[in-house]
């Protein structure tokens, strides 16, 4: 890692002010993405601002029709929340599938969302559920938040403070994991929300998480795995790398989507 100065803040407002004062800085949430990237020297910064004392940003609040989770809530706490297992089980399951138990003990929801790794799980949940990202500057709809690879709508100095997830009628998330990194080669989030059907795909798109509108239309007409066969998927927009080429990723997206649909149907039987 390149050298940097270390700072510690106990609130989002304090961190925001410090970031503005320092000019050059990166926020450290759980550090499970930022530190590996700094070790590889993909990221260089003069200042690291550690948010681990921001207790106000931790917690799970089950409201009527929506669940709000603080940005600094760790994956393990989302995965093991008994309240969430009843209110929004798909999210607990998703969090329980991130990385490994040791990564989940430190990694946070807000860190994952602000980082917007193109193969991360939480962006699929936000987009699939039509969530609202809460920030120090206001609220941003998930549809407007994830802009591209490691790119979000966050302005300079704006922090994610939490996410409000509307509770859907039914939802499922299926991912095909890279066996070493545990990131999604393809992950598909299917939700039957109050305002319609939403499908978000992570791990596969060259511009990060995206909504598969053709499949949404197909499943709205007929909510059955076979309906996906007729849904178009433009593989020219999918990633090709040493792990999987675009055609194979396209195939995985279809298979994961069909599994998610089957899971929803089985649960509602």
């Amino acid at each position: 890692m390149y050298p940097f100065d270390y700072h510690r803040c106990a609130s989002a407002e304090e961190a925001k002010a410090l970031l503005a004062e320092l000019g050059d800085g990166r926020l450290l949430a759980g550090g499970q993405s930022l530190l590996p990237m700094m070790k590889l020297r993909f990221v260089m910064t003069g200042n690291v601002i550690d948010l681990r004392d921001c207790e106000e940003l931790r917690g799970i609040d089950i409201g009527s029709g929506a669940v709000t989770i603080g940005a600094m809530t760790r994956h393990v706490d989302v995965a093991s929340s008994k309240e969430l297992a009843t209110a929004l089980p798909v999210l607990a399951e998703l969090a329980g599938g991130i990385g490994d138990p040791l990564v989940r003990a430190q990694g946070t929801m807000g860190g994952s969302i602000a980082n917007n790794d193109p193969a991360a799980d939480y962006p699929a949940a936000c987009l699939g559920l039509g969530a609202t990202i809460l920030t120090t500057a206001g609220e941003i709809a998930a549809d407007d938040f994830f802009l591209g690879v490691f790119e979000t709508a966050l302005a300079e100095g704006e922090l994610v403070t939490g996410v409000r997830y509307p509770v859907p009628a039914a939802a499922a998330y299926m991912k095909f994991r890279h066996p070493a990194s545990r990131f999604a080669l393809a992950g598909v989030f299917v939700a039957r929300a109050m305002d319609g059907l939403r499908i978000a795909v992570t791990g596969a798109g060259s511009q990060g998480v995206f909504r598969w509108h053709e499949a949404e239309a197909a499943l709205t007409a007929d909510f059955a795995p076979e309906a996906l066969d007729g849904a178009e998927l433009d593989t020219s927009d999918l990633n090709s790398d040493i792990h999987a080429d675009a055609d194979y990723r396209g195939h995985l997206v279809r298979v994961m989507a069909a599994r998610a649909v089957r899971k929803i149907l089985a649960a509602n039987r």
Partner: protein
């Protein structure tokens, strides 16, 4: 250089460190606690697992300065003097190691697993939970058996 204070294996320590010092290097090179290993250094293999405030974490992906005021326990802090911790004893009993390089991380993960999930762990759960620990000798069969037995032995040792 900034100063960091933490408790390591029950002993308070205060040392100056560069801000970019990882916890694993602080433990190994500053405190000379070399039982915690560096395997991959890329957050995958789990040879560096220690407990920070009771949570099993990868010390190669934690800054030493983030552990200010934390309680850190390494493999050296697990045994009670010469008496092995029940999980260590189970690894010896069940041949849960070959070359031994991954063993400190395996044992720290296993103890973390028991603290989160209880002492009656089935083999599928153990295998799932070992996702963050890699054994290059691929001796997983006996590691799983050792953890199952070690977890049960911990039931009789609530303080362990």
């Amino acid at each position: 250089m900034p100063l960091v204070n933490m408790t390591v294996n029950g002993r308070p320590v205060a040392r100056e460190v560069e801000a970019n010092t990882l916890l694993v290097l602080f433990l190994r090179e500053t405190l000379r606690l070399t039982g915690t290993h560096v395997g991959c250094d890329t957050t995958q293999c789990g040879a560096c697992v220690v407990h920070v405030n009771g949570r099993a974490v990868k010390s190669c992906t934690t800054l030493a300065l983030s552990c200010e005021d934390a309680e850190v326990v390494t493999i050296e802090g697990l045994s009670d003097g010469e008496a092995l911790h029940p999980m260590q004893a189970a690894f010896r009993e069940h041949h849960g190691l070959q070359c031994g390089y991954c063993t400190p991380g395996m044992i720290m993960s296993a103890v973390g697993m028991v603290r989160r999930l209880g002492t009656d762990l089935d083999r599928d759960t153990i295998r799932d939970e070992l996702e963050g620990n890699i054994c290059r000798c691929t001796g997983y069969q006996n590691i799983v058996e050792a953890i199952r037995a070690g977890a049960l032995a911990m039931a009789d040792r609530p303080d362990a």
